[in-house]
Amino acid sequence: MPDQTFPPAKPDVVVIGAGWAGSIMAKELTEAGLNVTMLERGHDHSTAVEGTYPGSIDELRGAVRKRLFQKLAHTSLTIRNKPNETALPYRQLAAFLPGEGVGGAGLHWSGCHFRVTEDDLRLRSATIERYGQKFIPKDMHLQDYGISYKELEPFFDKAEKVFGTSGEASSVQGRKTGQGNIFAPDRSDHFPLPAMADTFSASVFRKAASEAGFHPYSMPAANASQPYTNPYGCQMGPCNFCGYCSGYACYLYSKASPNVNILPALRQDKRFTLITQAQVLEIMLDDTRKRATGVRYIDLKTESEQVIEADLVILSAFQLNNVHLMLTSGIGKPYDPVSQTGTIGRNFTYQTITSSRVWLPENRFTNQFVGAGGGGVAIDDFNHSGLDRGKAGFIGGSPIWVNQAGLKPITAAQNSGGKGAPRWGSAYKAAMIDQYKHSLAIDAHGSNMAYRDVYLDLDPTWRNAYGQPMLRMTFTWKDNDIRMNQFVVNHIGDIAQAMGATKTSLNSLHPGQPFDSRVYQTTHLNGGVILGNNPKTSALNRYLQSWDVSNLFVIGSSAFPQGMGYNPTGLVAALAYWSAYHIRQTYLRNPGPMVHA
């Protein structure tokens, strides 16, 4: 398994970042006959080494000491809530957990593998059609993707087949199955694997949600419910609900990852070269600044600076790093929130997520350590396109779900107590044990809209280990998203009652609450290098090609104009396959801008 070979002197393509987006692009472009060199800042990762039992299921080493996550000692970012504040460094990983090393965040993700609602891709148009232009709050940068669900459907389908996704379809080629999410758009095919089984907690939620008049469905999970061989010949084994998905490398080859589902095939291709410990500093441009010539990187093994030239550059690092590299390379115009000009750093969004908790009677054990990262039961009654948002007055939405992914004891103990309840001592200990044994979590996993004064740029003060200015995040919660979250969480109470809850703790955002970087929420960060139809308000055209540099494609959730209610990986993968398809069909035959502004 060679992973450190020297690249061809000049590959056709250089791919930055070895996560889902980069691995998909590398696979597609080698299939097109191109020589591809992929650069990854971290170490190599494989199931046979990092994923072996029992080292891979050690909570202290894994999720607590953050084995697979970004090494902040080398580089981080700064955060502030408002543009008039001084941003300060994110010194300890907490709110979000970017990956590092081969597989990226795709190695330590949970496996929640969604598509989109039809309106997610045309949210501006859909909102204006139904509620009128005035319904959009001032300073909200609501935008369409410029791609329809119908256009993207074959690529969602392809991604599910590569990931070995387990789920239940509701509508296939216009035929209703009587199962699945009744609000989901039509599909060309079923999921490749049947849905994951319900944990006890999920089964209780399914029954109660149904009784409360909602429409529960099995969450689509890139956790294999059965043995599976994907179109690349990569094999998966059935998930045993060990509970070590999020934050861990799956020891069973059951959770889809670039490492399991794509790289085993890519590594056998002579046209493919992977260089690890390669920290990219800059995408180099020629004198016209309209053409990328290659990339400059530090080989961390020898601490020497290297240059690779290539005809085509694919930027497919984590969302934050895609934005950072565009800014440090001087590609496109940085976004200015005052003049509202420029596109790089614009429409940065997150996910509006709150977790509520329900306690069952003492003779019901929720065994919260049992779980699968992508499994569970959800309702889309407050996320689907048809929901009337007029009266409640918000744009966006949120699925509600019980996604018992495997709660381990250190995390459970740390998060017990608070909100007036003791956080230590005997009373805490009794309540913590009771909470671990008899409670379950219900999440509202909602959308997050884009706003004029929420954005990314370069920090004036703090630098990374390579002497570059770090990225600066300006982010806080806005009224629209708080209203959405409160509206949705109010309905969790009804479901809890139907579950026979002995106690319920509903958690929602409240007006004026600042974003808190100390509390884990989710790693679903979006935007900053978004796609669209207008080069004044988007950095990329609908094929994820830079408007400014036509031989540069920027792939990832950095392309999302706003954050949707679902998890982003399914859309990241579909957009990667969509972009690759059009590169192969159109760009390679006639390199240059694929859309003329």
Partner: protein, 260 residues
């Protein structure tokens, strides 16, 4: 959905679940004393009894001096006290766990972004001090003892549990600061590391005889619940296992992996 699950027929597991429930209740009531916990472990899992050298009571700290270690033993115990629900932090070896963590990359602050300048800000923007976990313990423990001597005329370890709790509440509420270390920052460090020690794999020096996992009902490194995805709310019937084989978390190769 549930009908298509890969579970064996319910009947196979129903008797087991009842036994498991009784066994779990019985072992919970018998864990307050360390010796009982060790014996329960032998019985339920058939593992070798812990060797005398493994007993946290015999541990000699490598980072903390005797005064600091004495404070740690008593302060951790108030965070997670021994009571009817099971062993406390001291019997679980939490002070030993924290002492060992101090010499890992984590203890040196190598997992954090620690570049200057260090600027105070609103709490939502997170930790902004130039201190590693080592620095926080070393900087705060002696001044806390000095404060206890001045206020209560005894060091922390010699105070009654009620007075110890008063001191910890004062720290948690951030009403005291020592050597530019806010009391709340030190308290959170202590609480975080105490809970890590109580519930991490015994290989790291805490969770002695898996007493922390037993009281939580966590089965440790079993990591296979194919037969317990949904047993209608019955408790999981098997006791915990540690990581086999136990790695040496302080070997140079392990630390390189952590840094990499």
């Amino acid at each position: 959905m549930t009908s298509s699950s890969p579970l064996p027929p319910r009947g196979v597991f129903a008797p087991l679940s009842r036994r498991g429930f009784m066994g779990g209740a019985a072992s919970l009531s018998s864990v307050p004393l360390l010796s009982h916990a060790a014996r329960a472990d032998e019985k339920s899992t058939g593992q070798q009894p812990s060797t005398p050298d493994d007993n946290p009571a015999h541990y000699k700290p490598i980072f903390f001096n005797p005064e600091e270690y004495l404070f740690l033993c008593h302060a951790c115990e108030r965070i997670l006290p021994q009571d009817e629900n099971g062993p406390g932090a001291q019997a679980l070896g939490v002070p030993r766990f924290i002492d060992r963590q101090m010499t890992t990359p984590y203890g040196h602050g190598d997992l954090w972004y620690m570049k200057a300048p260090f600027v105070n800000g609103p709490p939502e923007l997170g930790y902004q001090l130039p201190y590693s976990p080592q620095d926080l313990y070393r900087g705060a423990i002696t001044p806390i003892n000095t404060y206890c001597l001045m206020t209560y005329h005894a060091i922390f370890a010699a105070l009654s549990p009620e007075w110890q709790d008063d001191v910890l509440h004062t720290l948690e509420d951030n009403k005291l600061s020592f050597n530019e270390i806010p009391g709340a920052t030190f308290f959170e460090q202590l609480r975080t590391n105490t809970l890590e020690g109580a519930f991490s794999d015994p290989a790291y020096g805490g969770n002695y005889a898996m007493g922390g996992w037993k009281m939580m009902g966590f089965p440790g490194a079993r990591a296979d619940f194919m037969d317990w995805i949904n047993q209608e709310g019955a408790p999981y019937p098997l006791g915990p296992v540690g990581m086999p084989p136990k790695p040496d978390p302080y070997s140079p190769s392990f630390q390189n992996d952590e840094e990499g």
